[in-house]
């Protein structure tokens, strides 16, 4: 089974190379990663989860445990649980982070509300905030991309 640190290693390799695209096949796992600017880079905007944001060839869905994965413009931070995603600690307040902010793995980037219970969500990765991917105040699924962070 491929782990999150394996994926991080793969992404570092690509970052340090001139390649635009990588296709990897190991057993029944197929992993395809493309850089921004490469052909057909567009990720499905309706991507339902972090794992499916990495285009995985059928029929071999691989459960990658809530990884922080790279795509066009930074690592995608997946929702750890389903609920309503809030960018700010309360309505009208400034968002926890904004594009360009430097975050550590522990920096809170948002809140997921489930049945009036507020769960703070840490970035899980150190880097620079690219942009929120999930809108404020709307439901996110388990695994859906919340925010993109360029790792450092």
């Amino acid at each position: 089974m491929i782990t999150r640190s394996d994926i991080d290693d793969i992404l570092k390799l690509i970052d340090g190379s001139d390649f635009l695209e990588l296709k990897l096949e190991m057993g029944d796992l197929k992993l395809e990663v493309r850089r921004p600017g490469a052909a057909s880079v567009a990720l499905p905007s309706t991507s339902v989860s972090a794992a499916s944001a990495v285009p995985v060839a059928r029929p071999a869905p691989v459960a990658v445990a809530a990884p922080v994965v790279a795509s066009g413009g930074g690592s995608e931070v997946p929702a750890p649980l389903l609920g309503i995603f809030w960018h700010a600690p309360r309505p009208g307040a400034d968002p926890f982070v904004k594009p360009g902010d430097r975050v550590t793995a522990d920096t809170v980037i948002g809140i997921i509300e489930v049945m009036k219970l507020m769960n703070s969500v840490p970035a899980g990765v150190a880097g620079v905030v690219v942009a929120y991917a999930a809108p404020n105040g709307e439901m996110v699924e388990h695994g859906q991309t919340l925010i993109r962070i360029q790792p450092e």
């Binding site: 339902v48 989860s49 794992a51 499916s52 059928r58 029929p59 869905p61 459960a63 445990a65 809530a66 649980l81 389903l82 609920g83 309503i84 509300e113 489930v114 049945m115 219970l117 709307e138 439901m139 699924e141 388990h142 695994g143 859906q144």
Partner: protein, 453 residues
């Protein structure tokens, strides 16, 4: 009446697919809440939309009430179908649905409370005049003799404070009552510091027969009974309707008792009242009521021609039943085999994995409820049922023949299933004769496993 337009399905596997089937027929949209492990399941593909509730573990996804409610609201659903198992009889979910303005496709929280706790459920049975296993308390030999005379041998002595078999004694004849009673009381005292005992009628040969209830809260109907006596460790494997070789008087008694129970608690939805049929004494006792759609509902659908899921949805919308008991007639005989991903010859070890080929061709009189497709993954986190084969024929013998044919023809490759066990059951003259008891399968297993490597 509140029409339902979009149903959130809080379940997985074949029952999710089954609910989607009826929803499509009714022109309703569906949103399936899945775990991360079931994201690519057939139900997730068939539903109008699928959302991931949480990680693979049930407690974080299928049993996560908060996630279910948020997901149902967030996707614009107006109702929640809980299927069976998981949250299907969970009062907290039913209450949370009501608080969130969602219709719970099932009974009311009060109904769930009335059947959820064993003691409460028994109290209601007593009040409704539904027979329970006869018994009584005794603290002296004279009292025990009085109870034993009333309920008849064999009897079981149980510790009132009991559990775990401590202080439990079986007594077959009056001469043994005194010594067994002293022993049971001594054991009870030693184990629980309380020597009070309870005497109960012991059922030597029992059958599991249950009655399907359909109620809109005013009209309470039964849709006949099902016999689910072929069980392994309390897991049903083969179910049929009607129950074979049941005396007409006993059958009518069961049906009437089930309706009386449902009416007594003001039940409104689909439900099933389970009974233990005491074969030697030709009587029956209330076990419990299940406040949900059952796995084995297709055999009732086959003999009644009803779509029980559609009935359940209509009742949840607040529509009055258009049915009457008189126009609910039963035709022929139906039998269901539960195909599980388990290896009969390796102590029923579960056999999760990827299905390479799944082929269930239509045969006359055969219905297959399954979520299996080529490439389907059977995750190790949930129960092992992969398909239900349901045969309906004019006679029981014809239904058996159709199932035997189906087991020969159908293909499910990549995993090991319990199909050999079903073949053995269907080919067994004892099962073919009809009316086996709940100890039947345990007796058949050694013959099956001995015949194989």
């Amino acid at each position: 009446m509140t029409p339902i337009r979009r149903i959130f399905i809080a379940n997985r596997g074949e029952i999710a697919v089954r609910v989607i089937r009826t929803a499509r027929e009714l022109g309703l949209e569906t949103v399936l809440g899945t775990s991360a492990a079931d994201r690519d399941s057939l139900g997730a593909k068939l539903a109008t939309r699928a959302v991931v509730l949480g990680p693979a573990a049930s407690k974080d996804s299928y049993l996560n009430i908060g996630a279910v409610i948020e997901a149902a609201k967030g996707t614009g659903c107006d109702a929640v179908h809980p299927g069976y198992g998981f949250l299907s009889e969970n009062r907290v979910l039913a209450e949370a649905c009501a608080a969130a303005g969602l219709i719970f496709i099932g009974p009311s929280p009060d109904n769930l409370a009335a059947v959820g706790d064993k003691l409460t459920a028994r109290g209601h049975a007593e009040a409704a005049g539904v027979p329970l296993v006869p018994g009584g308390n005794a603290s002296t030999l004279a009292e025990a003799e009085a109870v034993a005379t009333r309920i008849g041998y064999p009897i079981l002595i149980k510790a009132v404070a009991g559990g775990g078999g401590k202080g439990m004694k079986r007594v077959d004849q009056p001469a043994d009552l005194g010594p067994q009673l002293s022993m049971a009381m001594a054991e009870a005292s030693a184990a629980f510091g309380d020597d009070r005992v309870y005497l109960e009628r012991f059922v030597t040969v029992g059958r599991h027969v249950e009655v399907q209830i359909i109620s809109d809260g005013v009209t309470v109907l039964h849709a006949g009974e099902r016999d689910c006596s072929v069980q392994r460790r309390y897991q049903k494997l083969v179910e049929e309707a009607p129950a074979p070789n049941l005396s007409p008087a006993l059958r009518q008694g069961l049906l009437d008792a089930a309706v009386a129970y449902a009416r007594h608690i003001g039940y409104r939805s689909l439900g099933t009242v389970e009974f233990l049929v005491d074969v030697p004494r030709n009587s029956f006792y209330f076990l419990e009521m299940n406040a949900r759609i059952q796995v084995e509902h297709p055999v009732t659908e086959a003999v009644t021609g009803l779509d029980l899921i559609a009935q359940q949805i209509a009742i949840a919308e607040g529509r009055p039943l258009f049915l009457q008991q008189d126009n609910l007639t039963l035709k022929g005989h139906a039998i269901e085999c539960r195909l599980n991903a388990e290896d009969v010859f390796r102590d029923f070890r579960p056999s999760p994995g990827r299905v390479t080929l799944a082929w269930f061709p239509s045969l006359p009189g055969l219905r297959v409820d399954t979520h299996m497709t080529p490439g389907a993954m059977i995750p190790p986190y949930y129960d092992s049922m992969v398909a239900k084969l349901i045969a309906h024929g004019p006679t029981r013998a014809e239904a058996i023949a159709t199932l035997q044919k189906a087991l020969k023809v159908c293909i499910l490759q990549g995993i090991t299933t319990n199909a050999p066990l079903h073949q053995a059951i269907l080919a067994d003259p004892v099962f073919q004769a009809g009316g086996v008891d709940t100890s039947y399968l345990a007796g058949l297993l050694p013959y099956l496993t001995k015949a194989q490597p």
